[in-house]
Symmetry: C2
Subunit: 172 residues, 2 copies
């Protein structure tokens, strides 16, 4: 069980980055994404729209108070994993993290409050290089779920892509 | 050896997405990214700046004519891998792709010309779901390079992040 908390969303500037975080979370098998920061109904509707068309169970919501999210998930005994290039290497910690069945994965935006580092059970770096919270999230979920991340099925899809060697095949 | 061709960059709209593609390519061990589409010096300088500070060898360039890039890499006997949600599953093709030592990995933007599907040796889907070219690129490189993708070292770095359980440690 994986929930994602996307911190510090900024209107316009983070529009597509936050959308990609949501779509990646859904495609690779997380159950939920909670957005914090600026309220952005249009961005959230975009993620919802993909879910409506391509199926599967995936919850998208907005919570202005990220501290409340963290407190709630701690109460529900989730393990908090904060993805940051300053943390410990994914490959050294993933075996330990896998022992936990319920994760809240926190992905920040530009500036993450120190409190998040303190409150998290794990601060995890997907390489100690600056790159992308989207890539970090994808590699983390795949590291945690393994092969399942790439082979998830999505019930009640209105639209389905049929893999092709060349070209596009979509069942509507 | 992995080179990336980022197709159809659009000024402003793709600014951060294309930047993330470049940073992910560098962080995970590709040798090069070539941008096509709109000319965007500011975006390219952003990727260059990270390279200057964090070290390593990584080439960033712009080529308005992507057909020329494809032709050049074919002449140099590179295998062309186009990442698209319409392609064949990564997990079914990665063993075959790994037999090739020189890859040009093509990541598109909104609309990819049919020619790219035809010219590519492999059209590869990282899940058959819509999500993110950044995540697809990250998972593809990690699938191809394996553990090396997360443990690459970067010579001549001016700045280095030292992994920490909590907080940040950076050597300047």
């Amino acid at each position: 069980m994986i929930s994602i908390l996307r911190l510090g969303h900024r209107l316009h500037r983070d529009d597509r980055i936050s959308t990609h975080c949501g779509l990646v979370a859904r495609a690779l098998g997380a159950q939920e994404i909670i957005y914090s920061g600026d309220k952005d109904d249009k961005m959230i509707e975009g993620v919802e729209r993909v879910k409506q068309r391509f199926g599967g169970r995936f919850a998208v919501s907005y919570q202005p108070n990220w501290r409340k999210v963290i407190t709630n998930f701690k109460k529900k005994h989730y393990t908090l994993v904060h993805l940051t290039c300053y943390g410990l290497p994914l490959q050294k910690k993933i075996t330990s993290i896998k022992k936990n069945k319920k994760l809240l994965v926190i992905v920040g935006s530009e500036k993450v409050p120190g409190e998040v580092y303190q409150e998290s059970d794990y601060n995890i770096a997907v390489t100690s290089q600056p790159h992308s919270e989207i890539a970090a999230l994808a590699l983390f979920i795949e590291g945690y779920l393994g092969k399942k991340a790439l082979t998830k099925t999505f019930p009640k899809a209105k639209v389905k892509i049929i893999p092709q060697e060349r070209g596009k095949k979509v069942i509507d």
